[in-house]
Amino acid sequence: MTTVLAPVEGAAVGLAAVPDPVFSAGMVGPGTAIDPLRGPGKAVAPIAGKIMKLHPHAYVIVGDDGKGVLVHLGIDTVQLKGEGFRLLATEGDRVRAGQAVVAWDPSTVEAGGRSPVCPVVALDALSDAVTGVAQGRVHAGDELFRWE
């Protein structure tokens, strides 16, 4: 069982609230999404493991058991080409759960006309493998859901 932590502070709103069908229809996998607190902040690793992919706007951490969790910082933020994001770790690094990975500001993303909502997805998981999904206010590092 993997405990997945909230990567950012905000309100857990569920994947259905994400304005992108790739996430809201669960095409990438089950999980939830966080509407982040506006203002400068640091997105942290949701699990302990290796940073398999690190983009400014998204990252995947893979645990020792092979489970991968995707954190996407805002929607369509690939178009920002890294502007407004600062990497605090390197692809391939091993990180602790809760360790800072990317510094960003959701209000800047929003000011650019994009949703800053952050999907947190259990990649390749079956939908019933995700339980105990938090709802409402979460701090970065709080338990967000469990992956059986």
Binding site: V28, G29, M52, G68, D124
Partner: protein
């Protein structure tokens, strides 16, 4: 064993939406689907979004998609179309 060589045209590469669409179609196929970079590297499981993201295919790179068994030609055609879509 059927194969399709496709150059990935999407700006984001085989990530995000193209990757999710590809894996969703691959998962519906009864046979194994393998995806490899055309210029070397081990094939990965085409039904795993984690594996496809890990393959890290960028725009302009060519992948080889392979499958065998009944209906595999049709599946390969559809997967090649998804992977090659701009």
């Amino acid at each position: 064993m059927g194969e399709r060589k496709v150059t990935v045209a999407a700006e984001v590469g085989l990530h995000a939406r193209p990757a999710a669409t590809f894996v969703q179609r691959a998962k519906q196929a009864p046979m194994d689907i393998a995806v490899a970079k055309a210029h070397g590297g081990d094939p990965v499981n085409g039904k795993s979004i984690l594996a496809i993201m890990g393959l890290d295919v960028r725009q302009g790179e060519t992948v080889v998609i392979s499958a065998e068994g009944e209906g595999s030609e049709e599946v390969l055609d559809e997967l090649a179309e998804i992977a090659g879509k701009p």
